[in-house]
Symmetry: C2
Subunit: 128 residues, 2 copies
DNA sequence: TAAAAATACTCCATAGGTATTTTAT
DNA sequence: ATAAAATACCTATGGAGTATTTTTA
């Protein structure tokens, strides 16, 4: 089990959507599938119940989610404590015109998310 | 930062000896050096102060040690919680004739250590 | 000079990507 | 027909090893 896998799992568990999770993590969708599969094989339990398009956390998934949150939070804290650059947490809402956002936001957000996984980012594009 | 790196760091921090840590982890010595270097580069701080043969934890290293312990313990707990196979912790002492031990113990111990990193194993070989 | 860590290099395992197939809406 | 996840396959990065050099006790 590696932190990278736990972070992928966390993102999928939050969004309940492999494709969107991949987008947020700047991964290909298949890479996210692979990471989850690795975890599932390692643990010998499936973490998501695939019901066609909809996916839902299994009991094992629920349980892992608790730990994944704690572990990644601790990692952030560790990085902050050692480097002095405390990682932030909280919530940010953002409104931006569709045309601008669709152009620049994806890369920016992916980068931001990597640095601040504990910030609940809530972007929305408005049409002018 | 990956759990594998933290585990290598933990072992070095405990033994204060790269070579012995490598032995315990079933790694080559250079691999352990590499893992520590990766962490140090990632954090932008050196974790050990190399004073010739002796090494000692830097302040940053001390700080990371706290988190590394918590994080790896949580990982063990997570594995246990999800799989139901609780990982053990405690202390084991073992006495075994030198000739037998030197033959079979190294591989066995390395494997055991991977499964139960929180067990403080204390093997000693006696001469007959 | 002996013992430990760093370094140089090599190799291969695997993480991640692309393209496609499967599955369910 | 569409949209999402799984699968097959390929590539390249980097993790790990061997061999060597550096360093210091």
């Amino acid at each position: 089990m590696e932190l990278r896998n736990l972070k992928a799992f966390l993102t999928v568990a939050r969004l309940l959507n492999f494709r969107k999770a991949a987008e947020m993590l700047n991964y290909a969708q298949s890479s996210v599938s692979a990471q989850i599969r690795i975890l599932e094989e390692e643990l010998g339990k499936s973490l998501f119940q695939r019901m066609g398009r909809a996916i839902v956390l299994t009991d094992a998934g629920q349980e892992l989610l608790q730990y994944a949150q704690k572990i990644t939070a601790l990692e952030q804290e560790a990085m902050g404590a050692v480097t002095g650059t405390k990682s932030r947490q909280g919530r940010i809402s953002l409104r931006i015109p569709q045309t601008i956002g669709s152009c620049f936001l994806p890369d920016i957000l992916a980068g931001f998310y990597k640095d601040h996984p504990n910030v609940d980012f809530n972007p929305a594009c408005v049409t002018l």
